[in-house]
């Protein structure tokens, strides 16, 4: 067995040193009637080559995003990641380290977390950020809980244009803690009046921009209305590249910003692992969930970094902790930080312009088809179209023609009939003019 260094001789010598006869003497506390006498019913060990064959066969049954014209988004986006990112995150010192509990020998991890927190704060226009959450959706749930602690109120108001799976996460948390919630219904036309839903019991308002249908929102008025009632504004961003083009939520009055960071440095991975961003105002940091890295000095006065504010955390506070969370998304936050260090402001803003330009070109090309209508006049790199018939069937037909053309709204919000003919389409820098032509041709055929 290639992973186990002990030899049978070692095992015999060690058992003798311990003073027992055989290995089962070390498992004697397991009651005899429940101790397994036989191997479980699974295949025996396998060579690298055998495992590669079996897993390779499964992988081959999937259509990789890079292999086709690809326009799927809704919270996860296909972007190009520089080769150096994956190389660096595979360094043993990053990959095979634990949480930096011993800061004297963990400055590598701690320094990049400090860089990460600073980048996230700059990107979102906020004052402070934590060291990352599991993903955007769980960060959204944690942000609502944080707002409830800060305001000592329970009611959250969720925009109908919040990613439906993010909404489901918040709804589940409120169901489980038996707290009230107001979730507005899906709003592809952008007509909801969320301000009317804010009252004196509102803990927070949760609004996404660009929203799940792609529409861009100015949050200033909602922020002002929320603050007037003593409520907080939580801004959600699922496409973090948009922050290279759009005014950040921090400049529009948001109190907490949560985002999915996958677009920078992290692959699609069929939905995970990703990296959740959570940023807020300095004055709220003691109610911020999750791990935080802070600057300090060592005994020689040299600058260094440590995990800090752990008195908020479960291993100290137990049932009084701000969250039960005890990991961040370490390696994904490293990938994010490295990719963003490569991009810098100049690179990110240019990348954002390319995404926007490609989306505009695609939107214009698709609406050139007679029966296709666009619902989102303003957008970043994603927009919603209405097609004759069912969106899900259209997407399936497109897939048969080798085009992954977007997400049918009905997949995210099943059971709401007026969304059945909507498709949410994303374009990024990976799409070529040829991809666009292939898409238009395929959609024209499918709809005719």
């Amino acid at each position: 067995m290639r992973y186990l260094p002990l030899t049978d001789d070692d095992r015999r010598t060690m058992l003798a040193g311990i003073g027992v006869q055989n290995i089962d003497d070390l498992f004697a506390d397991i009651p005899d009637d429940v101790r397994l006498k036989e191997l479980v019913d699974l295949p025996r060990h396998a060579s690298e080559l055998e495992v590669e064959r079996q897993l390779g066969a499964m992988a081959a049954r999937n259509t990789a995003a890079s292999s086709v014209p690809f326009f799927v988004g809704c919270g996860a986006y296909k972007h190009h990641v520089p080769a150096s990112v994956d190389h660096l995150i595979q360094r043993s010192e990053f990959l095979t380290a634990y949480t930096p509990y011993q800061p004297e020998i963990s400055q590598g991890t701690l320094q990049y977390l400090f860089e990460f927190q600073t980048q996230v704060a700059m990107l979102t226009g906020m004052e402070v950020a934590n060291a990352s959450m599991y993903d955007g959706s769980t960060a959204c749930g944690e942000a609502v809980l944080m707002a409830q602690r800060l305001t000592r109120r329970t009611n959250a108001v969720l925009s109908g244009s919040l990613h439906p799976q993010y909404r489901d996460v918040v709804v589940m948390l409120s169901d489980m803690s038996e707290t009230p919630l107001k979730a507005l219904s899906a709003d592809p036309e952008g007509t909801e009046d969320i301000i009317a839903s804010i009252d004196d019991d509102t803990a927070c308002v949760v609004v996404q921009t660009p929203d799940v249908f792609g529409r861009v929102h100015d949050l200033s008025k909602i922020a002002a209305a929320a603050h007037e009632k003593g409520a907080l504004l939580i801004a959600v961003v699922t496409e973090v590249i948009s922050l290279g083009a759009l005014k950040p939520p921090g400049e529009m009055g948001a109190d907490i910003v949560v985002a999915e960071g996958q677009s920078i440095g992290v692959g699609l991975n069929f939905g995970g692992p990703y990296v959740g961003l959570l940023a807020t105002r300095q004055k709220y940091l003691r109610q911020m969930p999750g791990r935080v890295c802070g600057e300090t000095v060592d005994a020689n006065g040299k600058r260094g970094f440590v995990l800090t504010l752990s008195t908020r955390e479960q291993h100290i506070r137990r049932e009084k902790a701000t969250s039960n969370i005890c990991t961040n998304s370490g390696l994904c936050s490293l990938a994010f930080t490295i990719h963003l260090s490569l991009l810098g402001e100049a690179g990110l803003m240019k990348l954002a312009r390319i995404n926007h330009a490609n989306a505009i070109a695609l939107a214009d090309a698709l609406t050139g088809i007679n029966s296709v209508e666009i619902l989102t006049p303003s957008f970043f790199n994603e927009f919603t179209i209405r097609v004759p018939g069912k969106g899900a069937a259209v997407i399936e037909s497109l897939a048969e023609k080798g085009v992954l053309g977007g997400v049918p709204a009905s997949r995210l919000v099943p059971g709401q009939k007026d969304l059945d003919d909507l498709i949410i389409v994303a374009a990024t820098e990976v799409n070529t003019p040829q991809d666009r032509e292939v898409y238009v041709k395929a959609l024209t055929e499918v709809l005719s």
Partner: protein, 520 residues
């Protein structure tokens, strides 16, 4: 001119001190590295991008003017992150015996498999017809986990152990509400991970502590005494955080069930008993499995983890969405509560389907080891921990007496009494010797706890050196060599850091207003 026949000196100069200061502050391979914000420039980029096609913006008048983010070119980025990486300890570099954390070797095949385009480059919302292999992988891993645990159902989506705890307890809560038997209290032993009481509180439960008995385990009597009709369940770690198998676990499970409550098992230490016992045979109703511990997906400096939860028949119907359904050779996803047939999911815990990248790595580990290798891994992990116990039992102190342990061995600080050396000092001195310290001050039930988990990945030679080193440290503490301890680490990239200052005046980001000189 005569030839210099001596040439380059090749012998080390004797009597030279080795701690001469340097001009740069660097120490050969240890190179000081500023923050990217101190070296990068906003106008610089390490990514070459084409000019966008000419376009008018449709951003609703919300254009951003600047961000302030510095950029670096690829050579600068490589050097920056390679240099800081060299300030990290890692399993690949040395013994990392963090009790309860399970720092075992991370097979590189697993990394390679996770990066196959068919897994790594697939979108979670692609049509099902284009992701049959991804769904097959999830279904296969689920089946392996069920076989290993002897349980009836599994939720794959929880993102980490604590997320899995929430999943299991939420399913228990839903099951009781569905029966019209909502309850308000959860029992948690004092030795539990802090996540257990934190999870119970998140779900609105009150926590009732259960004390440990003299030998470090939980007694069925103490559980029975705490049980009443308000108790929803117990959250019990097995093997427990003292490194002991809860030998009365079946009696505890029976008592819990008799009271109409359920048994949540914290599976953080499942790696000790894989292939030796199955939670399903022990009366467990839910257990999360830390794929990043038991099945060796990399810890990555603090995540990402993955925490699937296995369920008994009674709780399985309440497992969250999404889940994969197999129909012959075809697979489909159930993504909404309304679409769940014959089940009553408590809802959704995360967008998408869970930590796919970790699923691939874990299945790669499991297939590589197989039924025989996984059992052998558990046996070797337990053997290694007991070998350390035997090698140190005469010089270090065990809080519950010298008894067989599972995959980790627990010491307390009574052997350091009157030496002036604390558990923290002892741990820091290990750093100088080239070892990562063990887990310290956990579990909380033991004074100055030191929890050592070597895992199956260590060779006998590595263990022998580890034991000899700790024996020498104990001797040093007894001999009054205080500087070795209280000033430690002496040879790490940093001396001891001031954590109090960090918490009192939190500086959580670099600020352009406060240049680095002021901070140093």
């Amino acid at each position: 001119m005569s030839m210099n026949k001596a040439g380059r000196p090749t012998s080390a100069q004797s009597g030279q001190k080795s701690d001469h200061p340097t001009f740069t502050g660097n120490k050969a391979l240890q190179i000081e590295e500023p923050l990217i914000f101190e070296v990068g420039e906003t106008g610089k980029t390490g990514v070459d991008l084409p000019e966008p096609e000419p376009h008018e913006t449709r951003l609703g008048g919300l254009e951003r003017q600047n961000i302030g983010l510095p950029g670096l070119t690829e050579p600068e980025v490589m050097r920056h992150y390679v240099r800081i990486s060299q300030k990290n300890f890692a399993i690949d570099a040395g013994v990392y015996p963090l009790g309860s954390c399970t720092m075992k070797h991370n097979g590189r095949l697993n990394e390679k498999m996770a990066r196959l385009p068919g897994f790594g480059d697939v979108h979670p919302l692609q049509p099902e017809s284009t992701v049959q292999g991804a769904l097959e992988l999830i279904d296969t891993l689920a089946a392996w986990l069920l076989e290993m645990t002897g349980m009836a159902g599994v939720a794959m989506s929880p993102k980490a152990g604590a997320h899995g705890e929430f999943c299991g307890m939420a399913a228990i809560k839903s099951a009781q509400i569905a029966k019209g038997d909502a309850r308000s209290v959860v029992l948690v032993p004092e030795s539990a991970h802090g996540t257990n009481p934190a999870t119970a509180a998140l779900l609105g439960y009150k926590v009732r502590d259960i004390p440990a008995r003299e030998d470090g385990t939980v007694s069925p009597e103490a559980v029975k005494e705490a049980l009443d009709s308000d108790v929803a369940g117990i959250m019990l770690t097995n093997p427990n955080t003292c490194g002991l198998f809860e030998r009365d676990i079946v009696a505890i499970a029976d008592a819990v069930h008799e009271a109409g409550a359920y048994f949540y098992c914290d599976g953080a230490n499942f790696n000790a008993i894989v292939g030796k016992a199955r939670p399903g045979d022990l009366g467990v109703d839910c257990m999360h499995i830390n794929l990043h511990k038991t099945f060796s997906t990399p810890h990555g400096g603090g995540g990402p983890g993955s925490g699937p939860v296995v369920f008994s028949e009674a709780i399985a119907p309440y497992a969250p969405v999404p889940y994969v359904v197999r129909n012959g050779d075809m697979f489909s996803l159930v993504e909404s509560v309304d679409a769940a047939e014959g089940a009553k999911p408590f809802g959704r815990q995360t967008a998408f389907h869970g930590q796919m990248g970790m699923f691939v790595r874990a299945l790669s580990y499991m297939m590589s080891h197989g039924s025989d290798g996984m059992r052998q891994a558990s046996e070797d992990a337990v053997l290694n921990a007991n070998y350390i116990r035997a090698g140190l039992r005469d010089v270090m102190s065990q809080p519950f007496g010298d008894q067989v342990c599972m995959h980790e061995v627990l010491f307390d600080d009574s052997f350091l009494k009157d030496t002036g050396v604390t558990t923290l000092d002892f741990a820091k001195a290990m750093i100088d010797e080239g070892f990562h310290p063990m887990t310290m001050y956990f579990p909380l039930v033991v004074h100055g706890a030191m929890l050592i988990e070597p895992t199956e990945s260590e060779s006998k030679a590595a263990l022998d050196q580890f034991i000899a080193t700790l024996r020498d440290l104990v001797q040093g503490a007894r001999d009054g060599d205080l500087v070795r301890f209280t000033g430690a680490p002496h040879h790490a990239p940093m001396a001891r850091l001031d954590e109090t200052r960090a918490a009192r005046e939190p500086v959580l980001r670099w600020n352009p207003e406060a240049p680095a000189e002021a901070a140093e």
